[in-house]
């Protein structure tokens, strides 16, 4: 078998590109479950908050507990399929978001519930953009869309902010999750 150096280089480049696409597609598949889960919680909690603040807070609390438990379960499934420390990563990300929320509420407490929600959404969007930089650009696009939707809702739909976030934020997460599966 005769293989020239340029042919070997081209074959290696092809192989690396295919492996990169496979790694991204695998990462998207994993991320999509989390996006759809949290999108559903986000949508339900925001609709409830628009109707009644105390009910919304209760739905957020219950939703967060369900979301963290389900995310840990999703992570453990990945560990079972050979990915290393899936549930640990999910738990760490959840703790980082919760820690950020606690830190912000201590250092710069939001003036109202809507502002707190907006800051949390921006933080989640930024995390997805950061994760997308290594895991795949589609995830970064979902994160950027969340950030843009949050700012747009804050500027142009303040009266209906929670409904806006239910549709654009929660709905966007669900659609983003479905989009990630289309690879």
């Amino acid at each position: 078998m005769t293989i020239q150096a340029n042919e070997a280089a081209s074959a290696l480049k092809d192989a690396e590109a295919a492996a990169g696409r496979a790694a991204s597609a695998h990462g998207y598949r994993i991320a999509s479950g989390y996006l759809i889960l949290w999108g559903a919680i986000w949508t339900a909690a925001n609709i409830a908050t628009q109707v009644s603040l105390p009910v919304g807070q209760m739905v957020w609390t219950v939703g967060a507990v369900i979301g963290i438990a389900a995310s840990t379960w999703l992570g453990s499934r990945q560990t079972g399929r050979g990915a290393k420390g899936g549930w640990v990563k999910a738990l760490l990300i959840g703790m980082a978001i919760a820690g950020f929320g606690v830190g912000v509420s201590v250092i710069a407490p939001p003036l109202d519930y809507g502002q707190g929600e907006a800051v949390a959404c921006l933080a989640v969007g930024a995390i997805y953009v950061a994760m997308g930089a290594t895991a795949g650009l589609r995830l970064a696009a979902v994160g950027a869309a969340i950030m843009v939707a949050t700012v747009a809702g804050w500027l142009f739909a303040r009266d209906q902010f929670f409904l806006w976030m239910a549709a654009a934020g929660g709905g966007g997460l669900i659609l983003g999750g479905l989009w990630l599966r289309k690879v």
């Binding site: 005769t2 150096a5 074959a11 290696l12 092809d14 295919a18 492996a19 496979a22 050979g82």
Partner: protein
Amino acid sequence: MADADEIIHQSTRLRLMSVLNALPDGEALDFKRLKAIAQATDGNLGAHLATLEKAGYIAIDKDFVGKRPRTQARISRAGRRAFERHLQYLRDIIEGVVPADN
């Protein structure tokens, strides 16, 4: 010094092996996704998969999801070893460890 693997070196099969090797152990990909990710335009994809299966490099699983038949492929341990050996062979050629006309 690594050796060339003529089965893996064919361009479509090299991409198929690259995709399957990038997945965690035991993870399988269905035919449609594998074709899309590998960007395989070759009409003989089934034949290439059969060649890799015959060599013991991949395993093909057929089952049903509801009433729809599904074909999935996953890489074997022998496949991972052979793939890594072949990539090393290609690197050796580029670095001049192996003569290009070997």
